[in-house]
């Protein structure tokens, strides 16, 4: 008797009792569905996080100088020197001066939302920001002369200047600034919004430093040759700064890609643990199958006796029951995969409705194959014991069984 015939026989038996077969499969269906949805949720969270970090720049290092007492510090020139000495890691450097407390006024109207940051002439290029036609970016001369000029984000341009901001002026902490350029859309979402990535004003860092009364610049952004070099580049930068300060408490170098790596790793651990917990229900499902198969062997004792009398060897009886258990389990697995995709789609909608964040729960192909494989293995494992029991039945007793 060939495998296909056993399979046909198994299908026939399963179809003969659909309700019972479905209830038997339910454990597997729920198990597979939860594993797939949880892994999908993990994928979605990872994608969401990667996107969020990408917009912060995974190919950049952020350096914060906290100094050591008040006497030791690192000069702007020294920072540029460090970057130039390691062209294999670093591309460009820009000091950043965040003006958190600055008030922005347009005439007598106060604009609450835009963030004002002092940067170098390279910064826009480093961040790969594009300018709208008709304006210009910051030049070296603006930095050197501490010019009162600024580049504004698209949101500012459209909301306060009807798209005609170039040449207009606005007041930052009481100083009049001329708008020289407008950035094209930056936000990943493709839409501008208040407080978002396009609600920004960039001014020369020298101007910003003077306005804030900072003697020494204490924050820098460095772009890297490649995002894969984040870890060694961070070490090089830290070594150089250690040489300057003789202490590792005086500075902090932050790599977005490293941070992302750490967070992804943590997320993966969390998802794996959750998936394993969901996997326990697969085990319970397997036990359910075993239970029903044991009942089925008892119910079909006479059938087994007849088959044995007519010449079925133990291995035929065995394979018949194992294949039946495996088929039940695999059908359950397939239904579970479908249910998992369904639940993932629902979860995506629910998350979107509840948090207004777009997080797509996307089940991975690998998890689908794994769920399928695991359910087959469970069927075979938990089908084995009942099948063994069936195969070992004595034909004389089995034929007499009422």
């Amino acid at each position: 008797m060939r495998f296909f015939e056993s399979f046909e026989l198994a299908l026939k038996n399963i179809l003969a009792g659909k309700m019972r077969a479905f209830l038997t499969m339910l454990g597997i269906i729920i198990g597979v569905m939860s594993v797939i949805t949880i892994v999908g949720l993990g994928n979605g969270m990872e994608n969401y996080m990667v996107d969020a970090f990408k917009s912060l720049g995974t190919d950049t290092l952020n350096i914060m100088i906290t100094g050591r007492g008040s006497s030791r510090s690192v000069s702007e020139e020294k920072m540029y020197e460090i970057v130039e000495e390691h062209p294999e890691y670093f591309l460009k450097l820009s000091p950043t001066v965040s003006m958190g407390g600055a008030s922005v006024k347009l005439g007598s109207e106060t604009l609450e939302s835009p963030s004002v940051t002092g940067v170098s002439e390279d910064y826009l290029e480093m961040k790969q920001y594009l300018l709208m036609p008709g304006g210009r970016g910051l030049y070296y001369v603006d930095v050197r002369e501490r010019a009162n000029v600024c580049v504004v984000g698209k949101y500012v341009n459209e909301t306060y200047f009807d798209g005609e901001a170039v040449g207009e002026t606005l007041k930052i902490s009481g100083r009049m600034f001329t708008i020289i350029g407008v950035l094209d859309i930056i936000a990943d979402s493709g839409e501008t919004e208040e407080g978002g990535a396009d609600d920004v004003i960039f001014i020369p860092y020298s101007t910003a430093a003077r306005m804030s009364g900072i003697g020494v610049l204490n924050s820098y952004t460095v772009t890297l040759v490649s995002e894969d070099l984040a870890t060694p580049a961070k070490e090089v930068m830290e070594d150089e700064l250690y040489d300057v300060f003789g202490s590792d408490n005086a500075y902090r170098v932050q790599s977005m890609s490293e941070l992302l790596g750490t967070m992804t790793q943590m997320l993966n651990i969390l998802i794996t643990v959750l998936a394993l917990i969901a996997g326990i229900s697969l085990l319970v499902g397997g036990i359910g199958i075993m239970n029903i198969m044991l009942v089925s062997v008892t119910e079909r004792t006479r059938e087994i006796g007849i088959r044995k009398a007519l010449g079925a060897k133990e291995r035929y009886i065995m394979s018949q029951f194992v294949i039946e258990a495996a088929t039940t389990s695999v059908i359950g697995g397939a239904l579970g995969i479908l249910a998992g995709f369904g639940l993932s789609a629902v979860a995506t909608q629910v998350i979107a409705a509840m948090t207004e964040e777009s997080l797509t729960v996307s089940p991975s192909i690998a998890s689908v194959f794994m769920a399928f494989g695991i359910s087959a293995v469970i069927g075979i494992l938990f089908g084995y014991l009942p099948a063994k029991k069936a195969a070992k039945l004595n034909p004389i007793d089995a034929l007499r069984y009422e």
Partner: protein, 247 residues
């Protein structure tokens, strides 16, 4: 009665003992008998006489505790379970009192079972099952389920199933036990026909009037053979006036 060459079935001091606690139940006690190809033999006895045990051993469902059983010249007692299953499949055609058909399968599928375990291809199986069902007069009910049939018809399906693999022996265990006397007679005449076509038929029964339809009777009492000979001379069988007590 032709007795050419070696017997098809040969019991040499076959005993089957069951151990129940300290008691030994001798279901078969040193039975000697030979059945040749082409015979129609009835093994008859009261319940507890050992005829069921005898049938189980002849049908290779069981092996003797002592003694040797030769089937077609092969000693069966030493064979393993798989080999026994093969012998059952190839050499024995069972007919049971309770028909023992699979309720969820149709008639043709039921008859195909022995061929399936023999590894016969699907199309060949179908053809042979259809042929043999036609032969027993059920060619128009191939797709029916057993429970849609009368008892007599079900027993004919079970005869078809016993025949389909062209076995060496048709082994019928109380084939008329569940049937009314008229249908029972039909089944018996069918067995007789099969015997006339050259099949070896072994009939197990407790009913002497049924045993009378055979050529030869082996009577068992308390696990021993009390009579072995032609029907005409058998005590308490057929038209013979002698009672068992008179032997």
């Amino acid at each position: 009665m032709e007795r050419n060459g070696s017997p098809l079935i040969e019991f040499r001091s076959v005993s089957k003992h069951y151990y129940m606690g300290d008691n030994v139940v001798r279901a078969c006690d040193e039975i000697n008998m030979s059945i040749y190809k082409g015979e129609f033999v009835a093994i008859v006895g009261q319940s507890g006489s050992g005829k069921s045990t005898c049938m189980n051993i002849i049908g290779c469902l069981d092996v003797p505790t002592f003694g040797e059983y030769f089937l077609g010249g092969v000693s069966v007692g030493t064979l393993r379970k798989n080999a026994l299953a093969e012998i059952r499949n190839e050499m024995i055609g069972f007919i049971f009192q309770q028909y023992n058909l699979l309720a969820k399968s149709n008639l043709r599928e039921n008859v195909e079972i022995p061929l399936m375990y023999a590894g016969v291809s699907k199309s060949e199986r179908r053809r042979r099952a259809t042929d043999v069902l036609t032969k027993v007069g059920l060619g128009d009910k191939l797709k029916n389920r057993p429970n849609q049939l009368s008892g007599g018809q079900q027993q004919r399906v079970s005869i078809a199933r016993a025949l389909v693999g062209s076995p060496s022996i048709i082994l019928a265990d109380e084939p008329t036990g569940a049937l009314d006397s008229k249908t029972g007679l039909e089944v018996l005449s069918m067995l007789r026909e099969l015997n006339e076509e050259g099949n070896t038929v072994v009939l197990i029964t407790h009913d002497s009037s049924i045993a009378a339809r055979a050529q030869r009777v082996i009577r068992l009492e308390d696990g021993r053979v009390s009579y072995d000979g032609p029907v005409s001379a058998a005590p308490g069988v057929g038209g013979d006036v002698r009672t068992e007590a008179g032997v």
